[in-house]
C-alpha cells in the first residue's frame, strides 16, 4: 500500500508563521503600520497636493510620503524575522529538526522566507493600498503603474539588505550578529546615499549617484519626478534627470541584484551549508 502523502512545505510554512508572528507581534506591527500610514497621509497629503506639478508626480509623491515610516517598520519586521527567526534556527539547531523532514532544503528556505518576508510584505502593501484608495482614489486608479513602480523602486533596497543579512546569518550562525551587521549595512548605505547626493549637488558629477541608483532604485525615480539637480543648481551644473524608462532600467537592475543575492543564499543553503 502506498504511503499517504504529507504536506511538509505547508506545515513548515505554518510553523514558521506561528513562530515569527506569535501574539502580539502581528497585532503590534499591523497597528504600527496603520498608525504611521494614516498619520503620514494626513500630514503629507495636503503638502503633496500643494507642491506636485503633474498628476503623475502627485501619485508618486503621495506614495513616497505615505511610505516613509511604514517602510522602516517593514524593515524592522523582516530584519527581526530573518535574523531572529532564521538566524536563531541556525544558531540553536532548530534547522536540524526541519532537515530531518522529507523536504528539500530550498523548500525549507522558501517556507522560512515566505513567512519572514511574504507576510510582512502583504501586511505592509495591504495597509498602504487601503490608505491610498482612501486619500486619493482617483489619482491611484488613474496612475496605478506609477504607484506600483514607486513601491517596486522603494522595496528593492530593503529586500537586498535582507538577502545580504540572510547570507550573513548563514555564515555567522548567530541571529544577533546578523541583525547588527544588517542594520549597520542599512545605515551605511543610507548615509552613503546622502553623501553622494550632496556631492552631486556640489560637483554636478552624477556617476556615483547612478551607481547608487542600482542599489537604491528609488533614487532614480526620485530624481525623475522631483528634479533635485535642476531645483538646486538652477541650471548652473549638469543635471541628472533620468527618464521614466531609465528609472525603470535602474529598478530592473536593482531587482537583478536582489535576485542574485537571494540566488546565492539559496545556493549556499541548498548545496554548501553544513549543519
Amino acid at each position: 500500500m502506498e504511503k499517504p502523502k504529507g504536506k511538509p512545505f505547508l506545515e513548515i510554512l505554518a510553523a514558521s508563521i506561528h513562530e515569527d508572528f506569535r501574539f502580539p507581534i502581528l497585532e503590534v506591527f499591523a497597528f504600527l503600520y496603520a498608525i504611521s500610514t494614516f498619520v503620514l497621509v494626513q500630514i503629507g497629503g495636503g503638502y503633496t497636493l500643494s507642491i506636485a506639478g503633474s498628476e503623475e508626480s502627485l501619485a508618486y509623491s503621495l506614495v513616497s510620503i505615505q511610505m516613509g515610516t511604514p517602510l522602516f517598520i517593514f524593515l524592522i519586521l523582516i530584519f527581526k524575522n530573518v535574523a531572529y527567526g532564521f538566524g536563531s534556527d541556525l544558531e540553536k539547531g532548530t534547522i536540524q529538526t526541519l532537515l530531518a523532514y522529507p523536504i528539500k532544503r530550498h523548500m525549507i528556505l522558501t517556507a522560512k522566507m515566505l513567512s519572514a518576508i511574504g507576510i510582512s510584505l502583504a501586511m505592509f502593501l495591504g495597509i498602504q493600498f487601503f490608505a491610498l484608495y482612501l486619500i486619493a482614489p482617483q489619482t491611484v486608479a488613474n496612475h496605478m503603474p506609477i504607484v506600483i513602480t514607486a513601491y517596486l523602486a522603494s522595496l528593492s533596497y530593503p529586500l537586498l539588505i535582507t538577502a545580504i543579512m540572510l547570507l550573513i546569518a548563514m555564515k555567522v550562525r548567530k541571529g544577533g550578529t546578523a541583525l547588527v551587521l544588517g542594520i549597520v549595512l542599512y545605515f551605511a548605505i543610507s548615509m552613503a546615499s546622502g553623501i553622494l547626493t550632496i556631492l552631486y549637488i556640489f560637483t554636478g558629477n552624477a556617476t556615483p549617484l547612478k551607481i547608487l541608483a542600482i542599489i537604491q532604485p528609488s533614487t532614480a525615480l526620485q530624481f525623475h519626478y522631483t528634479q533635485i539637480g535642476t531645483l538646486i543648481s538652477q541650471g548652473q551644473i549638469e543635471t541628472w534627470t533620468p527618464s521614466f524608462s531609465e528609472a525603470l532600467t535602474y529598478i530592473a537592475g536593482g531587482y537583478c541584484l536582489v535576485a542574485a543575492a537571494y540566488l546565492i543564499s539559496y545556493y549556499y543553503f541548498s548545496r554548501r551549508l553544513n549543519i
Binding site: 504529507g6 511538509p8 510553523a15 506561528h18 506569535r22 540553536k92 536540524q96 523532514y101 522529507p102 549543519i275
Partner: protein
C-alpha cells in the same frame, strides 16, 4: 540481509581538523548498531553525514540506497534523535506533534499515541517550557511518529533519569522485535549500549577501529575479564595495577574486574592470593568471564594503538 546504511572511506575536515578520516561502516537491516568512541572521535560528524546534514569532503554515504544529501525523500523512513534537539519553541507539545503527523501524512491520533509511549503527559505545555528530560522524551516521540524503518540516535539517553533510560532501552528492544526497526545509536554510556546493541563500531580519531556483531568482537579480541570478589576492592585494585600484564581494572562495592594481556588471565589465580595476604583482604571467589563492553572498547583501542 541488505545494508540500510553504507559509509565508505568517508573524509570530513573542519579547517585543519580532520573530524573523519577514511571511515567505513555498514548497518544491516534489522540490526541495532552502537557507535562508540571518545569525544571528538567523529561519531557526530558521521551521523550528520548519514543524515545529509553535511557534505563529505570525499567518500560515499548511502542510506536506503540513496545519497542522503540529495534525496530528502528517504527521510520518510528515518527517525532522528539528536543529543540536543531544538524545536519551534512556541508550539505546544501535542499541537507540534500533530503538525509532524501532517508532515509525514500519518493520522493525527498517532501524536497522542507516541506521547503515551514515552510517558510524556505535558500535552499543552509549550516546547520551550519542557525540562531537559521531558524534551528528550518529546524528541523520542517525535522520532517515532511515522514508524520509521531506521532510527538514528545521537546520545538518546543523555538527559534521561535512570528509570526513563531503562524504559527507552526497553522501547528500543520492543521496536526492534515487533517492527524490525534498525537502529544506529551513538552513546557514551556503554552499559546501556551493551544491553540493546547486537553490533558495534568502535571509532577513534575519525576511523573505525573495529566493527561487527558484538559476540564476534568479543571473540576476535579475546575480551575476557577475571572477576575477583573481595571485601577490599579498592585496595585490591591498587595492588593489581602494579602487575605488568594487567591492562584495565574496574571496581564496584563487591569486587574487581580485570582485563589482562591476552593469555595472561591464569596469572591472576597465582597473584591474587598473594595480594590478599599483603593487604589482609578476603577473596570470596575468582572467575573468568566475558569482559564488559567498556573493557572490550579499551582493549580494542589499546591493541590498535599498538600498546
Amino acid at each position: 540481509m541488505s545494508s540500510l546504511i553504507v559509509v565508505e572511506n568517508l573524509h570530513k575536515s573542519y579547517g585543519k581538523v580532520k573530524a573523519v578520516n577514511g571511515l567505513s561502516l555498514q548497518v544491516r537491516e534489522g540490526s541495532i548498531m552502537g557507535l562508540i568512541g571518545p569525544n571528538g572521535a567523529g561519531k557526530t560528524t558521521t551521523i550528520k553525514a548519514v543524515l545529509g546534514l553535511l557534505k563529505p569532503d570525499s567518500g560515499k554515504v548511502a542510506v536506503l540506497g540513496e545519497d542522503p544529501w540529495d534525496n530528502p525523500k528517504i527521510r520518510e523512513n528515518i527517525g532522528v534523535i539528536y543529543e540536543k534537539a531544538y524545536f519551534p519553541a512556541h508550539h505546544r507539545v501535542l499541537d507540534y506533534l500533530k503538525r509532524v503527523c501532517r508532515i509525514y501524512g500519518v493520522p493525527e491520533a498517532r501524536a497522542l499515541e507516541v506521547l503515551r509511549l514515552v510517558d510524556l503527559d505535558a500535552y499543552d505545555r509549550e516546547i520551550r517550557g519542557l525540562s531537559a528530560g521531558m524534551l528528550q522524551k518529546f524528541e523520542i516521540a517525535h522520532a517515532l511518529i511515522h514508524n520509521p524503518r531506521l532510527i538514528i540516535a545521537d546520545e538518546p539517553a543523555s538527559n534521561l533519569d535512570p528509570e526513563a533510560r531503562t524504559k527507552l532501552l526497553d522501547l528500543i528492544l520492543r521496536l526492534h522485535r515487533e517492527a524490525n526497526t534498525t537502529f544506529l545509536i551513538s552513546s557514551h554510556i556503554l552499559p546501556e549500549l551493551s544491553r540493546v546493541c547486537d553490533s558495534m563500531a568502535i571509532i577513534s580519531e575519525g576511523r573505525v577501529l573495529a566493527s561487527g556483531p558484538i559476540n564476534e568482537l568479543f571473540e576476535r579480541y579475546s575480551a575476557k575479564a577475571v572477576r575477583i570478589s573481595t571485601d577490599k576492592p579498592e585496595a585490591f585494585a591498587q595492588e593489581l595495577k602494579k602487575l605488568p600484564y594487567v591492562e584495565r581494572i574496574s571496581t564496584d562495592s563487591r569486587g574487581v574486574s580485570i582485563v589482562t594481556t591476552e593469555g595472561m588471565e591464569p596469572n591472576i589465580y597465582e597473584d591474587a592470593p598473594k595480594i590478599a595476604r599483603k593487604i589482609a583482604a578476603v577473596i570470596m571467589g575468582i572467575e573468568l568471564g566475558t569482559a564488559s563492553l567498556e573493557q572490550l572498547y579499551y582493549k580494542v583501542v589499546r591493541e590498535k594503538a599498538g600498546r
